[in-house]
Amino acid sequence: MVIFDRVSKQYEDGHEAVKEFSLEVKDGEFLVMIGPSGCGKTTTLKMVNRLIEPTSGTIYIGQKDITKEDPVKLRREIGYVIQDIGLFPNMAIEQNIDIVPRLLGWSKEKRKQRVDELLSLVEMDPEVYAKRYPSELSGGQQQRIGVLRALAVEPPLILMDEPFGALDPITRDNLQEEFKVLQKKLNKTIIFVTHDMDEALKLADRIVLMKDGEIVQVGSPDELVNSPADEFVSTFIGSSRMENYKRSETR
């Protein structure tokens, strides 16, 4: 689905944020990128929808080199959820959700149907919520809409940058559960960025642990917990979390 081939990014100030990043993301995979703040997760993610251009290396989506695509068209085919939610405050919920369908010129009826469908997916009554404005929703509800917005045209690939990071722990927990179920149902390829190891262990098919712009280890949650590649990995996971995880696995 998505292939990173020795992708590097050096910012104008000379800082090398991502170094020779190579990875193959499989179709339908839930891939979580994790690492300390500033390790290059966001930079890597934004290179996939060309909000940032790599300095060297190539990214392929379904065999195609993305630099050969029109960035605007490319982005409409990739779902994108950002940490700050970023719902447009001047638009009602329905307009926020159907923004990409509007950009693609869907008919009004089809858009309305899709909005209703999506709101029902997260158990928010369209009668109640479609006409509201983002400021009239709770943080958790807003981020649900942020996720629905990314799902609107059923893109096969979705990028998520710490989507639940700004939420309180309880809301975050609920949304993670909800989203996990949703992902299983919709069977999307997801690249998900977080700095929260619990979240990564809970959601990921595979985890990519990064440090200073480089991959330290790639593996399933089991592999990371049971055979951490080095000291950094085990410290990053933390011994108590390792114990907990192993205990819950054996149960």
């Binding site: 982005r75 950002i82 700050d84 447009f88 405050p89 001047n90 923004i99």
Partner: protein, 214 residues
């Protein structure tokens, strides 16, 4: 004082109405022309930081030229009458609108800009769906400031024969007729207040619902 105003009205009513009509025409037309220049220019500058500094600076310099002097300066090129007056007033109206259009768009939170781009908006769509609606209250405030200034400065347009309430004021000064000065000055002040109030109301109406402060 009230009685005095009524007397003035009885004596100069017809002239006042005619002058008021001219004044409104001058101010509204000048600001409208100013908008036609300032808003597109402001939008154009948003992605061109290199020019923005110079253009805003340059337009700022015009603002510092005393208006009477500017009316005098265009005299050799445009002569006297309504056209040169409109031209000068338009120049003055540009800065507040230009500055507010530029900064209004610039100050739209990068979060929304990134979200819009990430959704696949073209530059033009980003402007139409996100940046302009969110900047609209700021742009409207610029128009409001502009029209209040222009109503005041339009009184000077009488100096080059463009008519308006300034006619009464200059006429009154010339013959030392206090009533006549008042006949020009009071309506000009009221006009500025009314215009400011109207535009304030309009600003509320055009502000997108989700970002209205109740």
């Amino acid at each position: 004082m009230n009685i005095e105003l009524f007397e003035i009205w009885a004596k100069h009513g017809d002239t006042m109405l005619k002058a008021l009509g001219e004044h409104v025409f001058l101010a509204v037309t000048a600001v409208f022309l100013g908008m036609l220049v300032a808003i597109p220019l402001g939008i154009w500058l948003v992605d061109r930081d290199r020019y923005a500094k110079y253009v805003l600076g340059g337009v700022g310099v015009i603002q510092t030229i005393p208006s009477l002097a500017l009316f005098g300066l265009v005299l050799p090129f445009l002569g006297i009458g309504t056209r040169p007056a409109l031209f000068v007033l338009m120049l003055y109206s540009i800065l507040p609108i230009l500055r507010n259009t530029y900064t209004g768009i610039k100050e739209v939170s990068p979060v929304y800009v990134e979200a819009g781009k990430g959704m696949g908006m073209s530059r033009f769509q980003l402007l139409g769906y996100v940046e302009l609606p969110l900047a609209l209250p700021v742009i409207m405030a610029g128009i409001r400031i502009s029209i209040v200034y222009i109503i005041a400065w339009a009184t000077l347009a009488a100096a080059i024969g463009a008519g308006g309430l300034g006619d009464l004021i200059f006429g009154g000064i010339a013959v030392y007729d206090y009533d006549l000065i008042m006949a020009g000055a009071v309506p000009a002040a009221i006009l500025a207040l009314v215009a400011s109030w109207l535009l304030g109301a309009l600003e509320k109406v055009v502000t997108p619902k989700g970002i209205r402060r109740s």
